[in-house]
C-alpha cells in the first residue's frame, strides 16, 4: 500500500494510506486521549475526546476525531492547541455532569480511564450541575453486574458483544439524553442471551460493568475456624497476576501464587492444571471412543463455560457433539470434595472450595445445578477473578512479586505441561492430542507441539497425521469465530473430528476476569508465558502425570469408568432465551 505524508504538530509523518490520524499520531509518540476507541472493534466516534485540529482550505480549521479520521497526503494537524484542550476539558465536564460523584467508593478508583482524564486535564470542579440519568443497577447475573448510571455510552461493550462475541446481548436503548445500554426489553442480564464471558467488562472504561464480587464470602470462610478452605488456581492466572502488581504482561509467577494463598490462610492450595490433566484423560478417551464408533463428529470441547452457555442458547443442535467431560475447575472441585476429603478424612460439608479464575463465566458454572455432589453440595463454592484475587492480596498486605516460590499441594496440585496449556487457545486440543496420539500410535514417539494450533489466528484449522490416519481438527476462540465454524459445519461446508472452542479471544488468558487492560498485545504476551511454562515442565503429557495415574488407580478406575462418569461428566440442555 502507498504511504501518505502529513504533518502532525509540525512533525512530518509517513504512514500507510488508510491509516487514521490517531495511528499516525501514535507512530510518532503523540498520545491522543480516547474513550470509545478500541483497536479490536469498529470505530465508534462517540466520545469526541480524540478531536484534533485539522487545517482546511483558506486558513480555516476543523476539529476532527483522530480515531476515525483518515489521513490524506499533505494534511496538517495539531493535536494539542488551546482550542483542542478546551474542547476535551468541556467534554470531560459534560461527562461528569451526568456521572455519579463517587470515586472514593468506586471499584474502579485508581484504574478508571475517566478519572485519569480528569487528572490529565486538571478538572478542578463539577462545572455543570443538572439533571442526571437514573437507571437501576442490574445485579441479577452470577458473574457480572451492570451500573448504567456510571456508563458514559462509549458503546465498546455493545460492539465487543456484537462484533467479537456475536452474542448481541446488549444494545443502545432510547435516544438522546435518555440513551442507555441494556439487554432487550429492559430485562435483567440473567434473563438475556448474555453468556457472561465478561469481554464487555474488559472494554468498559469506567465502573459501569463490574465483577459480581465474592470477596466478602471468601473472607468470611477464611475467618471461620470451623471451615476448611481449599483453593485451586487456573492456568492463566500465573501468566497475568503480575500485571496487577505492576509487572510487565507475560511475567510468570507460578511459584508465588501458592505461597500467597497460604498466607491468606488457605488450608490446601490445589492447581486447576491438575483438573485439566484429568479432563485431557476423560475427553481424550471420549475422542478415542468416537473414533472407534464413528462419531458423532466433531467432538467439541466443553471446558469454557461461556461457550457452553452460548451453545445451549444459540446452537443446541450441537449438544450431541459436546464432550461430556466437566471443566478442569469442576473436576478439581469435585475431586477436592470427594477424593481429597475422603483421603484427608474431612467432612466435605466443612470444605469451602474456592477457585481463582481468569473467567467471569466460571461464576455461572459453579451455580449450574449439574455441578453438585450427590448430597447437593456445590463442587466449588466461590470463584474469584484474577482482579478480585489481587484485591484480596492487596487488602491482606501481600506483595506477590516479593514472595518466595512454593509448590502447590499434592496430589491435586500436581500437574503436567498439558494442564497449563488449557490457559491458551489451542492448548486444550494440543494437550489432548499429546495423550490421544500416544494411545493411537504408541510407536510414533512423543508428539508435543502442533504448530497449526499455535498462535493467535481466530480460527485455526488443519489436518494432523497420527499413525497412518489423518484427522481434521479446528480451534476457534472468541464466540464470533465459533459461530463461523459452527455455521460451516452445520451447512456441510466443513468437517472436523475434533473442535476446540473457547469463548474468549486468546482463550482463558484473555478471559473476562483478567487484569485491566487486556488487549491483543497483552494477550499474546500471556500466551508466550504459558508456552514457556509448558516447556519448562518435566512432564508434558497428562497421561504421564503420576498424580493422574494414582487417582485412576486408587479412586476412579479408568477413564470413562462408571465412577468417572458419575463424577467427572455432565450433560447439557436447551436454554432460553434462545439466541439468534
Amino acid at each position: 500500500m502507498k504511504d501518505v505524508k502529513l504533518t502532525i504538530n509540525g512533525i512530518i509523518v509517513e504512514v500507510p494510506e488508510g491509516s487514521t490520524l490517531l495511528e499516525a499520531a501514535r507512530s510518532i509518540g503523540v498520545h491522543i486521549p480516547t474513550l470509545c476507541h478500541d483497536k479490536q472493534l469498529t470505530i465508534g466516534g462517540a466520545c469526541r475526546m480524540c478531536v484534533v485540529e485539522v487545517e482546511g482550505p483558506a486558513g480555516s480549521t476543523r476539529l476532527e476525531p483522530a480515531c476515525s479520521y483518515p489521513v490524506r497526503e499533505g494534511m496538517v494537524a495539531r493535536t494539542n492547541t488551546a482550542e483542542v484542550r478546551n474542547a476535551r476539558r468541556t467534554i470531560i465536564e459534560l461527562i461528569l455532569a451526568n456521572h455519579p460523584h463517587s470515586c472514593q467508593t468506586c471499584i474502579r478508583n485508581g484504574r478508571c480511564q475517566l478519572q485519569s482524564l480528569c487528572r490529565e486535564y486538571s478538572i478542578g470542579e463539577y462545572k455543570y450541575e443538572g439533571e442526571r440519568r437514573h437507571f437501576k443497577q442490574d445485579i441479577s447475573s452470577e458473574a457480572i453486574t451492570r451500573h448504567p448510571e456510571y456508563c458514559i455510552l462509549c458503546g465498546k461493550c455493545v460492539r465487543v458483544c456484537r462484533e467479537v462475541q456475536k452474542v448481541y446481548a446488549l444494545d443502545f436503548v432510547n435516544r438522546g439524553f435518555s440513551t442507555v445500554v441494556l439487554p432487550a426489553f429492559d430485562r435483567e442480564l440473567s434473563q438475556s442471551v448474555c453468556v457472561l464471558c465478561g469481554q464487555c467488562l474488559l472494554k468498559c472504561p469506567v465502573a459501569a460493568i463490574r465483577d459480581k464480587s465474592y470477596i466478602s464470602q471468601v473472607e468470611r470462610a477464611l475467618e471461620d475456624p470451623g471451615t476448611y478452605c481449599t483453593v485451586q488456581v487456573a492456568p492463566a492466572i500465573r501468566a497475568s497476576i503480575g500485571e496487577m502488581f505492576g509487572l510487565p504482561p507475560g511475567t510468570l509467577l507460578t511459584g508465588k501464587v501458592p505461597s500467597a494463598l497460604r498466607r491468606l490462610g488457605f488450608d490446601k492450595v490445589f492447581d486447576t492444571d491438575f483438573g485439566a490433566d484429568m479432563a485431557v484423560m476423560e475427553e481424550g478417551h471420549e475422542l478415542l471412543e468416537r473414533l472407534k464408533s464413528g462419531g458423532p463428529f466433531p467432538l467439541i470441547t466443553s471446558c469454557s463455560p461461556g461457550w457452553v452457555k452460548f451453545m445451549e442458547q444459540f446452537y443446541p443442535e450441537f449438544i450431541p457433539n459436546m464432550s461430556t467431560t466437566k471443566s478442569p475447575q469442576q473436576i478439581t472441585g469435585i475431586l477436592t470434595k470427594t477424593y481429597f476429603a475422603e483421603q484427608a478424612g474431612i467432612d466435605p460439608s466443612r470444605i469451602f472450595n474456592i477457585a481463582v479464575m481468569p473467567c467471569s463465566a466460571k461464576k455461572f458454572e459453579i451455580k449450574r445445578p449439574e455441578m453438585r455432589l450427590a448430597e447437593g453440595l456445590p463442587e466449588v463454592d466461590a470463584v474469584l477473578t484474577t482482579r478480585e484475587f489481587a484485591d484480596l492480596l492487596h487488602l491482606h498486605e501481600i506483595n506477590l512479586p516479593s514472595l518466595p516460590d512454593e509448590d502447590f499441594d499434592p496430589i491435586l496440585g500436581m500437574s503436567s505441561g498439558a494442564g497449563v496449556m488449557f490457559g491458551v487457545t489451542g492448548g486444550m486440543m494440543e494437550a489432548a492430542l499429546r495423550t490421544v496420539g500416544a494411545v493411537l500410535d504408541p510407536e510414533g514417539g512423543e508428539r508435543l507441539e502442533f504448530s497449526v494450533l499455535r498462535g493467535f489466528g481466530g480460527i485455526k484449522a488443519g489436518s494432523i497425521l497420527i499413525g497412518k490416519q489423518e484427522y481434521r481438527i479446528c480451534v476457534a476462540h472468541g464466540l464470533g469465530n465459533a459461530r463461523q465454524v459452527l455455521d460451516a459445519i452445520r451447512e456441510g461446508r466443513e468437517q472436523y473430528h475434533f473442535l476446540e472452542i473457547m469463548a474468549c479471544p486468546g482463550g482463558c488468558i484473555g478471559g473476562g476476569g483478567q487484569p485491566l487492560p487486556t488487549d491483543d498485545t497483552i494477550r499474546r504476551q500471556r500466551i508466550e508465558a504459558i508456552y514457556a511454562e509448558d516447556r519448562g515442565k518435566a512432564v508434558r503429557c497428562a497421561h504421564l502425570n503420576p498424580a493422574v495415574r494414582r487417582i485412576y488407580k486408587e479412586f476412579l478406575g479408568a477413564p470413562l469408568s462408571e465412577k468417572a462418569h458419575e463424577l467427572l461428566h455432565t450433560g447439557y440442555q436447551f436454554r432460553t432465551p434462545r439466541g439468534v
Binding site: G45, L94, I95, K127, G130, Y168, D171, N174, A184, V580
Partner: protein, 820 residues
C-alpha cells in the same frame, strides 16, 4: 387491546411468511406492519420477528426504542396528536397543550386510565400554514383554540360521538379516461403492458412513426384535453386538496360541486381537478375556476351552490369569495405575483394522481431525451454547469456529488431521495410529493441514470401518509408507462424505486443516519469520511439528494443550465421554495429566486405581520438555523448570506415571529427540540445540549446569572466544533444567533428578571387595575380561584396563589388586568 391478554401471533406469522424478502433492512417496515396489526408492539411480536428474521432481540429493541413512531403500550381508542413544531409553537401551541392536559387529565405520551384517549406531542404535521395544528384520529385540524379543543374532544370524552373520520381522503375519479398510452390508429405500437418507447415525442412533439392527418388531430385533442384546454369543457374547477385546505374543509367540496353541477345539468360540461397545494394555504380552502378565471378563498360548503349557479351557469364570478376586488385571479395576487414559480409550476394545476396530466405538460420529456440521447457524463456536466446546489440544507453542488458517485468503481450503486423533512415548520417537500410527485420521480430517474444506480429509495417521513400514497400511485403509473423498471423507454437502462417510510426521528434526515435507518438500524449518524457517495447503503456508493433538488432536475434538462441560472445569484442560482409560516398574514408555499431579500418574502409575498403585530425576527433553517432580526431583513436570501448572519438556508422552513415572541424562550424551544432529537451517540450533542437547555430554562425562570452567558457561548462553540453530525454541529445556531442579535433580551431576563415579550411565566405578574368594573369574569375563569372581590371595588389577585396562567388577562373585557 388489553396488554395483559395473550397476543395472537398467528396473523403476524402469516404476514411474515408471505413477505418476499426478509433481509435485515426490512426490519423497520416489518415492525411498522406489526404495529399496524396490534396497535402497538408486544414483546412476543418482537420475539417472533427476531426468530424469523434472525435479528437479535437486543437489536430490535434498540430500534424500537429509538423511533418515536413505535409504541410498546396499546393506544387509546382516540389519539390526539398536538403539534408543537416551530410554527405551531409560535402561534401558541403551548396553550393548546395546556388545554388538552386539563381536559383529558393526562400528559403528552400518556393514555387515560379508561383507555379512551392517548395524547401525543408531535413535531410538525406539515400543516404549519394553519398553525396551531392538532390531529384527532388521523384528521388534521387547524387554527386551534382552547374552545375548539373542547368542542372537538369533549363529545368523545363522554362517548357521545364515535370516532371522527379516519382522515382517509376520497380518491376522486379522473374525469377523462384518455391516456398517452392510447393508440391513435392501428399503426401505433402502443400495446397493453408494452408502451411504445417513443410515445413521449410522438404525442408531445408530434414526431410519430407514421404520418397521418387524423392521428395528428387525435394527438392535438389528447394534449388539449389533458392540458385542460379542450373546448368541449365549459369550465374547469381546480379544487385544492392540499393538507391545509383539506383540514379547512375542502374534503366535502368535490361531492357538493358534483351535486350542484348535476342539478344544473352541467356535470358533463365541467371537469373537476383535485390538485395539490395551490400555495396560499392561509386563504384555504382555495378553489380556482377557469377559463372564466377566478380565485376563490375560504370556500365553505354553503358557498358551492352559489359558485355553480352564479359563476359556472351564470358566467359571473362570485365577488364576495374572490381574493379581493382587485385581485380576482392568481396572477393579480401579491402572494403569487412576487413569486417565480418554476418548480411549483404544476402545483395546483394538475391532479397529482394522474400521470397523463403531468406528461401533457411535457413531463418525462427531459427524461426521454436524457436517457436516449445523452451519456451520463453529459447530464452530470449540464447539472454542474447549472450550478444547482442541494436543496436539503447543506447546499452542496449537486453535479459534483453525482460526479463522485459516477466515478466510483463499484457496480452496485444506490440513489436515495431524502423526503424526511423533519424541520418543524417546513412543508415544501411534503407539498411537492403530494402535489407533483412525477416531477420528483423524473428527476430521480435522470439522476439514477447519471450516476449508474439501478435501485433507488425514497425515504419519506412517517407523518406523511398522503405523500406516500401519491408516490405509490405515481411509481405504479410510471412503471406501466415504461418509465421505470426494465429497459426504460427502450434505453436498455433499468431502475426500480422503493418507498421507505421513516419511523419518526429528525436525525434520520441526516444522510448517514438515514442510511442506517434504511438498513433497519437505529438512526445513529455515522462518521464522515467516508461519505455516502463512497460508502453508503450496504457499503455501496450512494447518492442522497433532497426532494426539491430532484424536482429541479427535469427543468434544468428541459430548459438548459443558462435558463436555470437566469434567476438567483452567482453562487446560488435558481429558485428556492419556502414554507412561510408563523406570525405573517399569508402563510403558504412560496417559490422565489435565490437572493431576493427576506423582506420581499415576508412583506411583499407574506403580507407582513397580521393585524397589530410587529415583526421581530425570522427563523430560517429550523432548529439548525438562526434568527434574523427585522433590522437585517434586507439581506439577500442565499446559502452564503444566511450563513454570514449566523443562520442557514436549511431546507426552506421560514417561521416569522413578532413582538409577542420571547427570544430566550424561542431559543429554548429549539434546544429542547434538538435535545430531544439527538441520536445520543456523541457526548457534546447528547450531554451538551442538555446543559444548554438547562441554562436557558434557568434564565427564563429568572434564575440566570451573567456567567451563564459565557458558559452558553463555550458550550455552543464546543458542540459546534466537536459534534459528529450536522444535528449537533448546528444545534447551537438558534442560541448563538439570538445571543448575537437579542442579547439585551437575555440581559433583561438575567439582570432585571423581566421578560420583555411577556411570555416567561415565572417573570410575569398579573394585577387588576383601578378601571376594574367588578364584573367578576376573571374570578370565574381563574383555574385556581385566587381572585376575589365584590361589586363596587376592584377585584384583587392573591399573588402567592396565582399560577400565572393569564386567563384573567385574556377574559377581562375592560383591559383591567395588567401583565408586567
Amino acid at each position: 387491546m388489553n396488554k395483559l391478554s395473550k397476543v395472537d401471533l398467528q396473523p403476524l406469522r402469516q404476514v411474515l411468511s408471505a413477505w418476499s424478502d426478509l433481509g435485515p433492512h426490512h426490519l423497520i417496515a416489518v415492525l411498522q406492519k406489526a404495529q399496524d396489526m396490534y396497535g402497538y408492539l408486544p414483546e412476543e411480536a418482537m420475539e417472533l420477528i427476531s426468530e424469523i428474521m434472525r435479528i437479535p432481540v437486543a437489536r430490535i429493541y434498540g430500534v424500537v426504542t429509538f423511533y418515536a413512531q413505535f409504541r410498546r403500550e396499546p393506544r387509546g381508542l382516540h389519539v390526539v396528536e398536538i403539534c408543537n413544531g416551530t410554527a405551531c409553537h409560535v402561534k401558541g401551541a403551548d396553550r393548546i397543550i395546556d388545554e388538552l392536559v386539563s381536559v383529558l387529565g393526562i400528559r403528552p405520551g400518556q393514555t387515560t386510565d379508561d383507555g379512551r384517549f392517548t395524547l401525543l406531542q408531535v413535531n410538525c404535521v406539515g400543516a404549519c400554514g394553519i398553525a396551531p395544528a392538532m390531529v384527532l384520529d388521523g384528521k388534521v385540524y387547524g387554527h386551534m383554540t382552547s374552545a375548539k379543543v373542547r368542542e372537538l374532544v369533549e363529545p368523545l370524552l363522554e362517548g357521545i360521538e364515535e370516532p371522527a373520520g379516519t382522515g382517509q381522503r376520497k380518491t376522486g375519479v379522473v374525469a377523462e379516461e384518455r391516456t398517452f398510452l392510447d393508440r391513435c390508429c392501428d399503426k401505433c405500437r402502443n400495446a397493453e403492458g408494452t408502451p411504445c418507447p417513443e410515445f413521449l415525442i410522438c404525442k408531445l412533439e408530434d414526431k410519430p412513426c407514421h404520418d397521418d392527418e387524423q392521428c395528428a388531430a387525435y394527438r392535438r385533442e389528447l394534449r388539449n384535453l389533458l392540458r385542460f384546454e379542450a373546448e368541449r369543457y365549459r369550465a374547469h374547477i381546480f379544487l385544492c386538496k392540499g393538507l391545509t385546505c383539506e383540514a379547512g374543509g375542502a374534503a366535502e367540496l368535490r361531492h357538493l360541486f358534483e351535486e350542484e353541477l348535476s342539478r344544473h345539468n352541467l356535470l358533463q360540461d365541467v371537469e373537476i381537478v383535485e390538485t395539490g397545494c395551490q400555495g396560499l394555504c392561509e386563504m384555504g380552502p382555495v378553489v380556482q375556476i377557469k377559463p372564466l378565471e377566478a380565485f376563490y378563498c375560504r370556500v365553505k360548503p354553503e358557498d358551492v351552490a352559489e359558485i355553480v349557479a352564479e359563476h359556472i351557469a351564470g358566467g359571473k364570478p362570485v365577488e364576495r369569495l374572490l381574493y379581493s376586488r382587485d385581485c380576482r385571479i392568481e396572477a393579480d395576487i401579491p402572494f403569487y405575483k412576487n413569486q417565480e414559480r418554476r418548480v411549483l409550476s404544476n402545483m395546483g394545476r394538475i391532479d397529482p394522481r394522474n400521470i397523463d396530466e403531468y406528461i401533457a405538460r411535457n413531463g418525462y420529456l427531459a427524461l426521454y431525451k436524457a436517457i436516449r440521447h445523452s451519456a451520463p457524463e453529459e447530464i452530470i456536466d449540464i447539472i454542474s454547469r447549472s450550478g444547482l446546489r442541494g436543496r436539503g440544507g447543506g447546499g452542496f453542488p449537486t453535479g459534483r456529488k453525482w460526479a463522485t458517485a459516477r466515478t466510483e468503481q463499484d457496480p452496485v450503486k444506490y440513489l436515495i431521495c431524502n423526503a424526511d423533512e423533519g424541520d418543524p415548520g417546513a412543508f415544501m417537500d411534503r407539498s411537492l410529493l403530494e402535489g407533483d410527485p412525477h416531477r420528483v420521480l423524473e428527476g430521480m430517474i435522470i439522476a439514477a441514470y447519471a450516476i449508474g444506480a439501478h435501485k433507488a429509495f425514497i425515504y419519506v417521513r412517517a407523518e406523511y401518509p398522503l405523500a406516500v400514497k401519491h408516490l405509490q400511485t405515481a411509481i405504479g403509473q410510471a412503471g406501466r408507462y415504461g418509465l421505470l423498471g426494465g429497459n426504460i423507454l427502450g434505453s436498455g437502462y433499468d431502475l426500480n424505486i422503493e418507498i421507505f417510510q421513516g419511523a419518526g426521528a429528525f436525525v434520520c434526515g441526516e444522510e448517514t443516519a438515514l442510511i442506517a435507518s434504511l438498513e433497519g438500524k437505529r438512526g445513529m449518524a455515522g462518521n464522515k469520511p467516508p461519505y455516502p457517495t463512497e460508502h453508503g447503503f450496504g457499503g455501496h456508493p450512494t447518492c442522497v439528494n433532497n426532494v426539491e433538488t430532484f424536482a429541479n432536475v427535469p427543468l434544468i434538462l428541459a430548459h438548459g443550465p443558462e435558463w436555470f441560472r437566469s434567476v438567483g445569484t452567482q453562487s446560488s442560482p435558481g429558485t428556492k421554495i419556502f414554507s412561510l409560516s408563523g406570525k405573517v398574514r399569508y402563510t403558504g408555499l412560496v417559490e422565489v429566486p435565490m437572493g431576493v431579500s427576506m423582506a420581499d418574502i415576508i412583506f411583499r409575498i407574506g403580507g407582513g405581520a397580521p393585524e397589530g403585530g410587529e415583526i421581530k425576527a425570522a427563523q430560517t433553517g429550523g432548529p439548525s438555523g438562526g434568527c434574523i432580526p427585522s433590522a437585517l431583513m434586507n439581506t439577500a436570501v442565499d446559502y452564503d448570506s444566511l450563513k454570514e448572519l449566523g443562520s442557514i438556508m436549511g431546507s426552506g422552513g421560514l417561521v416569522v415571529t413578532d413582538d409577542s415572541t420571547c427570544i430566550v424562550s424561542f431559543a429554548r424551544f429549539f434546544l429542547s427540540f434538538t435535545q430531544h432529537e439527538s441520536c445520543g451517540k456523541c457526548i457534546p450533542c447528547r450531554e451538551g445540549t442538555k446543559r444548554m437547555l438547562e441554562i436557558l430554562e434557568r434564565i427564563t425562570r429568572g434564575q440566570g446569572k451573567l456567567a451563564d452567558l459565557d458558559d452558553l457561548r463555550n458550550l455552543c462553540h464546543v458542540i459546534q466544533r466537536t459534534s459528529s453530525c450536522g444535528l449537533g454541529q448546528t444545534s447551537p445556531n438558534p442560541v448563538l444567533s439570538t445571543l448575537r442579535y437579542f442579547e439585551d433580551e437575555y440581559l433583561a431576563h438575567i439582570n432585571d428578571k423581566r421578560c420583555p415579550a411577556g411570555v416567561c411565566r415565572s417573570l410575569l405578574t398579573y394585577h387588576i387595575l383601578d378601571n376594574c368594573r367588578s364584573c367578576g369574569l376573571c374570578a370565574k375563569n381563574c383555574p385556581v380561584a385566587c381572585i376575589s372581590g365584590s361589586r363596587g371595588a376592584p377585584y384583587v389577585i392573591d399573588q402567592d396563589a396565582c399560577i400565572k396562567c393569564g386567563k384573567c388577562y385574556e377574559v377581562c373585557p375592560f383591559n383591567a388586568v395588567a401583565r408586567t
